[in-house]
């Protein structure tokens, strides 16, 4: 099991704070209030004043969604190769190493087994702070294994997306992870095992256009950016300004693409209730 997980969430947040040098107060972009940093940490990165959702890292999500001390991480040793020998301003391996140092993860996805309200579940989480949560071979493999474990253990699969899309540096191999993960979902559906897709900020590109929007239910976080193409690309293509709130969770709810928008602190209860309604 990975070393990073033995660190508590509080220490990780504390380390992040130190390195960022932000001090112990934070000014909320949602309400402009200056609020104690520890209040955000205690509230799983949701503003206690206005409810603005900031990105929560994997340990926080595990603590929030799973029963205490039930999480067992899997596949933490998978790490990427450099199949294309990709170099832009830096070689790809240099980017990966930097991201590993910065995040404490081997790649942009954390997965494992645990319990949610005493029910066995398989959980997979994107780590956005690792190269924008981009999906390459490692992420695709971990997602597929998570789904396959759900199939083997007859356990509902929860995938929490927070990703800019496919990882360019692994080229078409990244693209193929979309087909690989969705094909695995097909088996899960055949076996009548639920797949719950949680859409956190942001869920775009190849992650949106594969498994993320085809959950048995799609549950979005308030304000999360969810869409296929980037707003800038769309504006350049259609040469018009996009409407207010475009590609936000509320926009997707309006257009019938998500089942519900659920505040983070209610997420576990919401999912627990659904699973109970389906399975008990």
């Amino acid at each position: 099991m990975a070393g990073w997980f033995t660190k508590t969430r509080a220490t990780i947040e504390a380390e992040a704070k130190k390195t960022l040098g932000k001090g112990i107060f934070r000014r909320c972009v949602g309400c402009s209030e200056t609020i104690k940093d520890e209040e955000f940490v205690r509230n799983y990165e949701v503003c206690p004043n206005c409810g603005h959702h900031y990105r929560l890292r994997a340990p926080g999500w595990v603590e929030l969604l799973l029963d205490e001390e039930t999480f067992v991480e899997h596949d933490a040793n998978l790490h990427s190769k450099d199949p294309l020998g990709f170099v832009d301003s830096k070689p790809y391996p240099t980017r990966v190493t930097a991201a590993q140092k910065k995040s404490g993860h081997t790649d942009a996805f954390v997965s494992g087994s645990g319990k949610l309200n005493d029910r066995d579940v398989e959980l997979g989480l994107f780590a956005f702070h690792f190269m924008g949560g981009s999906m390459g071979s490692v992420v695709g493999e971990k997602i597929t294994r998570t789904i396959e474990r759900g199939l083997a253990n007859k356990a509902p699969v929860l995938l929490l997306s927070s990703s800019g899309g496919a990882r360019m540096q692994e080229g078409a191999l990244s693209l193929m992870q979309m087909a690989k993960s969705v094909s695995a979902l097909g088996k899960l559906r055949e076996a009548n095992i639920p797949f719950i897709s949680i859409l956190a900020d942001p869920t775009t590109g190849g992650v949106a256009a594969s498994f993320a929007l085809i959950g048995d239910v799609n549950i979005a976080e308030p304000g999360a950016l969810i869409g296929f193409a980037g707003a800038r690309v769309i504006e350049q293509t259609i040469r018009q300004t996009l409407p207010e709130g475009f590609q936000r969770a509320e926009f997707l709810l309006d257009h019938g693409m998500v089942d519900a928008i659920v505040p983070r602190l209610e997420m576990k209860a919401h999912i627990g209730n659904l699973l109970s309604l389906w399975l008990d």
Binding site: L84, F86, D88, A166, S183, K187, G206, L213
Partner: protein
């Protein structure tokens, strides 16, 4: 005939050949001269092809005269019956779908369609589908699955359309759902990248038992232009991005993504469309034959196994 920059050495030769042919009209003596020039054109053509850069090959995949899906429909199939609409919103002209006979055998055929003239380009939306296109494709593929007809798809798109309506109507869901539907088809599925295989919009027709690429086609996670504008912060670096993305057919083959590369006529598919269509017909026939006899379950499992093993990682 349109000529790309690197094809320019052919312009003068081919003009002279055409002139001589027009002038010869029944007269003797010019035939040997024409044959000589044609042989020289072939050599020039071969030399051009031998020295193509990666970026020039990308340009060939997008050549204005490159055969599109409908050209293959004309040359490789009979009795084509197009089926329109997704039953939900509209008919997307960027994807054409229907049933036809392939060497006498009924099959479903589905492909991205680019336009040749300006008007047709707009009508086909440059081969960039909306959600309706993928939903229509799913509808036809599911029909084929029910009636036991193999599905042949033809990929040629810069990508799914990035637009307001596309987002409103669920471009992401439409592509994701298409991947799912294809993974579950109970019939043989063969996909061929005939030009540009651009990101999710291409893959949405690509979850097949066998994936073929024409020699000068591309298959990529993002267009070189898109990649350059993100990683180089300048779209003009597209040729650099193209080199890094390893998007050509031999690369895809090495990565385990395609099963077969179909060689193109000298100079590229556009130089001899009937010949290209013939080569593709032979390849498709062989691949179909290879999948014959597999049960529905075996076909689904074969498709799963194909994609399951794709990826490069340690541990």
């Amino acid at each position: 005939m349109a000529y790309l920059d690197f094809e320019k050495p052919l312009v003068e030769l081919e003009r002279r050949i055409a002139d001589l042919k027009a002038a010869s009209d029944g007269l003797d003596g010019l035939d040997t001269q024409i044959a000589e020039l044609e042989a020289r054109a072939q050599t020039v053509q071969r030399n051009i092809c031998d020295q193509l850069s990666i970026w020039q090959k990308v340009q060939l995949s997008r050549h204005p005269d490159r055969p599109y899906f409908l050209d293959y429909v004309e040359h490789c199939f009979t009795d084509f019956t197009e089926l329109h609409g997704d039953r939900l919103y509209s008919d997307d002209s960027a994807i054409i779908a229907g049933f036809a006979r392939f060497n006498g055998r009924p099959v479903a055929i589905i492909g991205h369609q680019k336009g040749r003239s300006t008007k047709e380009k707009v009508h086909r939306n440059f081969g960039m589908a909306h959600p309706e296109g993928y939903r229509k494709a799913c509808r036809i593929m599911e029909l084929a699955s029910r009636f036991g007809r193999p599905v042949l798809t033809f990929i040629d798109t810069p990508g799914a359309y990035p637009g307001l309506g596309a987002e409103e109507r669920g471009q992401s869901e439409a592509i994701g759902h298409a991947l799912y539907v294809m993974s579950q088809l109970k019939v043989p599925v063969i996909a061929t990248v005939i030009g540009e295989g651009g990101s999710g919009g291409a893959l949405a027709l690509g979850v097949a038992n066998r994936v073929l690429m024409l020699q000068y086609s591309t298959y990529s996670v993002i267009t070189p232009e898109g990649c350059a504008s993100i990683l180089w912060r300048d779209g003009a670096h597209a040729p650099d991005a193209a080199e890094q993305l390893k998007l050509l057919a031999p690369n895809a083959s090495k990565l385990g993504i395609v099963e077969e590369i179909v060689e193109e006529p000298v100079g590229g598919a556009h130089r001899d469309v009937p010949n290209m269509a013939q080569r593709l017909t032979v390849a498709l026939e062989a691949q179909l034959k290879d999948l014959d006899g597999l049960s529905a379950e075996e076909l689904i499992e074969d498709r799963y196994a194909k994609f399951r093993k794709i990826g490069a990682y340690n541990g």
